[in-house]
Amino acid sequence: MVSELVLGEVAQLVVAGIQAYRLTNNEATIGAEVDERDKQGATMAQITEFLRSNAIKEEVDAQAKIDTARGG
């Protein structure tokens, strides 16, 4: 009984860890792409446009996933 409870708690921690990692990883990935553009000599305006476009792309992707989850 105790071991089942402990495993349940551990499973929760694993899920929490995965979520936190995934979110941090999402941010880090964007940062790495900006780094790459910076190295290639992108201007401040180009970096901003990339970040804005990326945010809009993720909005569209998220909307598509929500629509799919609705069964649409």
Partner: protein, 139 residues
């Protein structure tokens, strides 16, 4: 255990490198660069939120309606950042620094709320127990 989950949420995003700004024209002031950095960080936070919202909807962690509410907030926040970008382009730096700072905080808060909600939604002992310990179901 809840404390650990909260700590994970709090730690999310920590240790990330500040975003590079790219090549800055000689005539651009440090204040303009600072304002641009604030806006850029807001865009990064919102993109990460959007991705998490979509994935959580796909995984069934959020209902489609709940995910839609979060996504609508992220879109509204991004549109406000777009407005601050226009102000910055027109040279109104002070308005941008005060407003965009607030919006970045909003974006950050949204990101953490999405994550906290996703974690809380997973706290269903029987289903998650079966999901992560299928071997125990047969024990």
């Amino acid at each position: 255990m809840r404390l650990l989950a909260v700590l994970l949420v709090a730690l999310s995003g920590c240790g990330l490198q500040p975003l590079k700004t790219g090549k800055v024209d000689p005539g651009v002031s440090q204040l303009q660069v600072k304002a641009q950095s604030v806006i850029n960080e807001g865009y990064r936070l919102l993109a990460a939120s959007d991705k998490e919202i979509g994935q959580s909807a796909a995984d069934g962690i959020f209902t489609p309606d709940d995910a839609q509410v979060y996504l609508n907030r992220a879109i509204a926040s991004r549109k406000k950042l777009d407005g601050y970008q226009k102000l910055l382009n027109s040279g109104d730096i002070n308005a941008v620094l005060s407003g965009a700072n607030v919006e970045q905080l909003v974006a950050d808060a949204l990101l953490k709320e999405v994550l906290a909600r996703a974690i809380a939604a997973k706290k269903k002992p029987t289903t998650q127990f079966e999901e992560f310990s299928p071997f125990l179901a047969t024990a």
